[in-house]
Each structure stands twice: as structure tokens, then as C-alpha cells.
């Protein structure tokens, strides 16, 4: 595929090695792992192997703590709803204002059903205030659900510490780690994290496969009831080929962990530096000192993200934006708004997210292409005059609200 793909937080290419590994499970190895005959048996072993591979990447104590699901969203829903079902006497949830919609929309829905949800706020760099968190932890809380790393900014939350705090208060702790798994090292057995969500397609496995890590001994109620698959914790015939693919993907992620945190991080840093040097009135959002190695989110002031993406796309560059228009909603990204990024910048925020398949040559090409695009759009902007914004731009151009 031609083009420069810098949208790996949205989804990733399936590694060709992984595809190779998966293919037999569509044809020769088509058996149902639950079957008693030889057709099913081998497939059962392949799933067992994948479970081991994932256990290793997560640093889980037992392979039975790995439950295969259909996606990250299913894992999130299973975890949160299980905690509520298993503890009907508890009716509060703690989460953050910057969670992925997979958690946020569910929490908003649960509020309508009568649950009380505490949304932890973030500061201008997207960081949590742990004393605010401590204050809302109580025996009324059924579960805390806090993402390990933010999908838009890459900002990492102190989930190990937060899990300890929850544990001391006797509260279950879940983390949506779909962006963090495979990018930063984990050792769950040494943490107090009770549940954790993974999404296969974020780490070069295919779409349609996810994992819920469930610490042994944590009270659990399944979302899907039916057959005895996954020890009755997630009924439904296993997505065998994708499970095998995810197993291989986690193995490759382990091998590339250092590469991710050195070479990939260096490409990301070079891109950020190159763009900030060449484009005035642009800045990094989130917490650059504490974020995923592959992500940077840059806000370009006085222009709008969808227009930026369309012009980047014309040059074969793929990225994503927190502007309202890209989502079809009227508000810009809730993550940008939570950090109090002004509207004139929030709509122009662009996320560049790398993978181990990117190259430094691609980075240099993007650095070359980006500045003229921003200049071109600013020429059209009512907030812009010549080579800089208007004085007091939001006063000089204050349109009638429509």
C-alpha cells in the first residue's frame, strides 16, 4: 500500500507473519476446539498456546486469567457490568472524563439506569489528581475503570498506583489498556489490577478479537451466557484464527518492546520537533513527559482538523483529528475540551501515531509536507492575517452564534 500510515492508534496493519500463522485455521484446522475428535483437538492446543503467549506479555500469574472476547469494547462492557452484577449493593462507578467512548458511553447509559458515576477531571496536560480520586473511593463504589494510556494524546495514567489505592479501599479496579498493551512493559501479577482490556487490532492482530484479563479470585458475572467456552465466562464458539493471530502478535510485541521504546519513540520525537519548528502557533497536547512512545498530538491553532486531514490525505499521509467534523458530532474531542484546550486549537488537533513499520524517511517527508498545508488553510481562516493571527483573534472575529 502506497502512502504514509500514521494512524496506528486507530488500527494497525496485520503483520504478514501473523497472517501466515492464521491461515491454516481457516482451512485445514477448521475444527471446533470443543469437539472430541482430532479436527478439534489441534485447534484446542493452538488456543492454549495463544493464551500462554498473551499471559506472558501481560505478566499474568495464570493463563486461565485470559478470556478471549470479540473486541476491546466487549471486554470493557464485560468488566464493568460484571462488577455491578456481582456486587448489587454497590451502585457507584469511578472513571475519568477522558476515557474512550467504549467506557464513557456505557457509564453515561448506566447513569440513566440509576448508577452514580464519578468522572475524575484532568489538568491542562491531561493528568489526574489522585487526591480527588482518593476522596470518591468508598464501599459504595463497585468498580474503578481508568484507561492505562489515552488514545488521543498517549498520556499514561498511574494505573498501578490507582489499583493499589482501590485495593486498599476494597474496590475492584479495571483498566482499558488497548493502547498500552504491547507498547509499554507490563507485569500484572505484581499489581493490584483486577481486570484489563486488550484489543487485537491495535497491536497488528486482526480486528474482531479482544481479551479480558480477569485476576483469579475476582468475582465475575459473564456478559454472554451459553456454552462452556472460556470456562463459561464468555460463551460463543472461539474465533480460532484470530486468537492464534493475537497470540503471535503478542509474541512479536514482546520481541519489539525495546524497538518500540527507542526507535519508534525517536521517530515520533523527530516528527514532533520538525513540525513544531516549522509551524508557528502549534503545540503538543497531553503530557509529553509521560506518554506512549508512538503517539504525539499536535494542535494547530486557527484551522480545522478535518480540512487538515483531507489535505494530508491528498499527499498520501494518514492521521486523525479531534475536530468535531471528523466524528459527525458538533463538539470537538472530549479529551481536548477536558484539558481546556481553546476551541480555536481543539478543532485543529491532529494525532500522529506510529508503529514499528514506519521509517525515518517517512517522518522527513511528513515534516516537509505539513507546513505548507497549515499555511494554505490559515490563508483561508478568518482568524489569520498575513503571517500571524489577528490581534486578540477571538475578539476580532466573533461571529453571530448560529
Amino acid at each position: 500500500m502506497e502512502g504514509i500510515y500514521l494512524d496506528n492508534n486507530a488500527t494497525t496493519m496485520v503483520d504478514p507473519v501473523i497472517v501466515e500463522e492464521m491461515l491454516p485455521y481457516f482451512t485445514d484446522q477448521f475444527g471446533n476446539p470443543s469437539s472430541m475428535h482430532a479436527f478439534g483437538n489441534k485447534v484446542g492446543f493452538a488456543i492454549k498456546k495463544a493464551r500462554k503467549q498473551i499471559q506472558e506479555l501481560l505478566g499474568a500469574e495464570h493463563d486461565s486469567e485470559i478470556i478471549f472476547t470479540s473486541c476491546g469494547t466487549e471486554s470493557d462492557s464485560t468488566a464493568i457490568l460484571s462488577a455491578l452484577k456481582a456486587q448489587p449493593e454497590r451502585n457507584e462507578i469511578i472513571t475519568t472524563v477522558v476515557e474512550h467512548p467504549a467506557v464513557l458511553t456505557l457509564c453515561e447509559h448506566l447513569e440513566k439506569e440509576g448508577y452514580k458515576v464519578h468522572y475524575l477531571k484532568v489538568d491542562a496536560k491531561g493528568r489526574l489528581d489522585l487526591s480527588e480520586y482518593q476522596q470518591v473511593l468508598s464501599e459504595r463504589v463497585a468498580v474503578v475503570s481508568v484507561m492505562w494510556a489515552n488514545n488521543e494524546t498517549g498520556t499514561i495514567f498511574p494505573v498501578r498506583e490507582m489499583a493499589e489505592m482501590a485495593n486498599r479501599a476494597g474496590v475492584m479496579f479495571h483498566t482499558d489498556a488497548v493502547q498500552a498493551v504491547g507498547k509499554i512493559p507490563m507485569d500484572l501479577k505484581s499489581t493490584k489490577i483486577d481486570m484489563l482490556s486488550i484489543s487485537g487490532h491495535k497491536l497488528h492482530a486482526p480486528k474482531g478479537i479482544g481479551v479480558l484479563y480477569l485476576r483469579r479470585g475476582v468475582r465475575f458475572r459473564p456478559l454472554l451466557r451459553g456454552g462452556h467456552q472460556e470456562r463459561g465466562r464468555r460463551a460463543g464458539t472461539e474465533n480460532t484464527a484470530s486468537i492464534v493471530g493475537l497470540g503471535k502478535a503478542t509474541e512479536l510485541a514482546m520481541e519489539h518492546m525495546e524497538f518500540e521504546n527507542t526507535t519508534v519513540a525517536a521517530m515520533r520525537d523527530r516528527l514532533q520537533e520538525g513540525i513544531l519548528d516549522a509551524v508557528p502557533y502549534s503545540f503538543v497536547t497531553g503530557d509529553p513527559d509521560n506518554r506512549l512512545p508512538n503517539t504525539c498530538n499536535i494542535a494547530f491553532e486557527y484551522i480545522e482538523g478535518e480540512a487538515i486531514l483531507m489535505l494530508l490525505n491528498k499527499q498520501g499521509i494518514a492521521a486523525s483529528s479531534g475536530s468535531a467534523c471528523t466524528s459527525g458530532s458538533l463538539e470537538p474531542s472530549h479529551v481536548m475540551r477536558a484539558m481546556d484546550i481553546p476551541y480555536t486549537a481543539a478543532h485543529g488537533s491532529v494525532r500522529f501515531s506510529f508503529s514499528r513499520y514506519n521509517t525515518m524517511a517517512e517522518v522527513e517527508k511528513v515534516i516537509e509536507v505539513v507546513p505548507p498545508i497549515m499555511a494554505q488553510l490559515r490563508k483561508l481562516s478568518p482568524y489569520w492575517d498575513g503571517d500571524r493571527p489577528l490581534d486578540e483573534p477571538e475578539k476580532a472575529f466573533a461571529p453571530t452564534y448560529a
Binding site: E304, A307, L330, E331, P332, L380, P382, F397, P399, Y401
Partner: protein
């Protein structure tokens, strides 16, 4: 990715009349920064003839906002102010060969900028007459504020009634949960409880005779009268959008209608026809097909 027409993309990549017009004597600033769209339209108007001699735009917004602004300036250049005021947002969308429903507000912004600029030239005060809420129905681009206001004004009780009045929910039906929530909220304000299973107040009165006669038991005349009545009941909502519909002929199970005004040539015309057909099937209790009169057999139409 949005399904933009080639014309939208072309106007975005190569916008016409970008930048402020020199010696402009009319300016219209509209938009909402929180929504990510804002537009300044500048016009140079000939004071003698009131002809727009030049038009320019500056836009903070997405691809379709920039394309809509570009189209607007192309459309109005050379028009008199009075003629320019008749340009509708649909005209802008048509010029661009259509916009996705979520993006129709970009064309609305263009028309509003034009009204604001003309008001500015004439020394009048321009105020926006509608507030825009979150988009609920994506098939027909209907937002929450419009639904809420229509529910209040007409004392609507069911999702079906909302669809009949606003078109919201009349397409793919995926927004019915959202519409129910708005209904429940308005009910709660009145101290009542929303009942999603409530029957619609029948638009066509059921008399013992019609009940006995049923769909198949109707005479041709009764049947045509009923079709007429249903179409009549649908006109007010179309007129709200500046359109209209009239019954042309009935041939067996095929009903021919004329779509006029904003409905004529509107990309939504096909979906509107679908809505009319659905309603007629429900009311008649038998299958009918609704087609535009342009598809009538020529001899039958007497042409």
C-alpha cells in the same frame, strides 16, 4: 471518511474567492466556534444597482464548510442583493452536487452569512432564528432542538408522530432511542410519563364504515379519497422544509405524485417518497408504490 462529491472536493482543494474582498461594504460573520465552523463573508456591492460585484470568504472549518463558502461566493457574484437573498442552503448544496446529511449545516451557514452580510449593508440587525442541537436523525439531518420544539409545539406523543412532523426517525430508525429520550424529557417536564407503547392518534378518522370496509372493501372512489386525505395530511411537514407534494394519478397499485418546491430534485426526494409510500401502505392496509409523476407512462399522462 465522508462521502464528498467530486465538486465538494474540487471546491475544497481549489477554493474560489478565498480571502477578504478589497473595499468591501458588507460583511457577514456567522458560525459557532464550539461546532468548529465559522465564516466571514465580505461583499462589494454597487450602491447604485445593488449588484454584488465581488464576494470573498474566510472560513474556519472542515472541507465541506470551505467548499460551501466557495460555492456561495460563486453563486452570488453578479446577483442583486434581493436575488441573492433568495438563495437557499439547498441551492448551495445542489451547486456542490450534494452534501452528506451531517454536513448540511455547512450550507446553512453559507446562507446565514449571506443574510448577515445583506443586513450589514442595509444597516439592519441580523439575528439567527434557530439554534442548532446535536444531530439526532442522520437520514434527514434533524437535530435535537428542532425535535424538542416540534414535540412541544404540537404536543406529540409518539416516535411515529415525531417522524411525521419532522421526518426524524423516518429513515433507518436507528435514532428512535434518542427520539424516545426527547419525548420522555418533555413528558417529564409536564409531569407526565412517556409511554412508548401508546397508539398514535389516527391521522385519518376510523369510522365504523371504514373499519368494516377495510382496504379491499373500498370502492375506487373511496380509495382515491383516502389517498388524497393521507397526502393532504403529509403536506404541512413538507411545507416546513419549503417543499410540497400533490397527487397526480392513481393507476392500480401505483400512485403518481408531483414533488414541488425544495422537494423537487432534492436528494432526499427519494427518501421522502419512501416515507409517503410507507404511510399510504399503513393507511390503506395494502401494498402500493409511490412514484414521481415524471415516471408516468406518456400516453396515460395525456402528453
Amino acid at each position: 471518511m465522508w462521502d464528498y462529491s467530486e465538486t465538494v472536493k474540487e471546491h475544497f482543494y481549489n477554493p474560489r474567492n478565498a480571502g477578504a474582498v478589497e473595499e468591501a461594504n458588507a460583511t457577514g460573520d456567522v458560525g459557532s466556534l464550539s461546532c468548529g465552523d465559522a465564516l466571514r463573508l465580505t461583499l462589494k456591492v454597487n450602491p447604485e444597482t445593488e449588484v454584488i460585484e465581488d464576494a470573498g470568504f474566510q472560513t474556519f472549518g472542515c472541507g465541506s464548510a470551505i467548499a460551501s463558502s466557495s460555492a456561495l461566493t460563486e453563486i452570488v457574484k453578479g446577483m442583486t442583493l434581493d436575488d441573492a437573498l433568495t438563495v437557499s442552503n439547498q441551492d448551495i448544496a445542489d451547486y456542490l452536487e450534494g452534501l452528506p446529511p451531517e454536513k448540511m449545516h455547512c450550507s446553512v451557514m453559507g446562507r446565514e452569512a449571506l443574510q448577515a452580510a445583506v443586513a450589514d449593508y442595509r444597516g439592519e440587525e441580523w439575528s439567527d432564528d434557530h439554534e442548532e442541537g446535536a444531530l439526532i436523525c442522520k437520514c434527514f439531518a434533524v437535530d435535537a432542538v428542532l425535535i424538542e420544539e416540534t414535540v412541544r409545539a404540537n404536543n406529540l406523543k409518539t416516535v411515529e408522530e415525531v417522524a411525521n412532523y419532522t421526518k426524524a426517525g423516518g429513515g433507518c430508525a436507528s435514532c428512535h432511542e434518542g427520539i424516545e429520550e426527547i419525548l420522555a424529557m418533555v413528558f417529564e417536564e409536564k409531569g407526565e410519563t412517556f409511554d412508548p407503547t401508546a397508539d398514535v392518534i389516527p391521522a385519518v378518522e376510523s369510522t365504523p364504515e371504514t373499519l368494516v370496509a377495510g382496504a379491499t372493501g373500498m370502492t375506487n372512489l373511496q380509495r382515491i379519497r383516502k389517498i388524497e386525505k393521507v397526502i393532504e395530511s403529509l403536506r404541512p411537514q413538507l411545507q416546513l422544509d419549503g417543499g410540497d407534494v400533490e397527487l397526480v394519478d392513481v393507476m392500480g397499485d401505483t400512485i403518481y405524485v408531483n414533488m414541488t418546491g425544495a422537494c423537487n430534485g432534492c436528494q432526499m426526494a427519494a427518501m421522502t417518497l419512501g416515507g409517503i409510500q410507507q404511510r399510504l401502505i399503513e393507511e390503506l392496509g395494502s401494498f402500493v408504490k409511490v412514484l414521481p409523476s415524471t415516471e408516468m407512462p406518456k400516453t396515460a399522462a395525456g402528453v
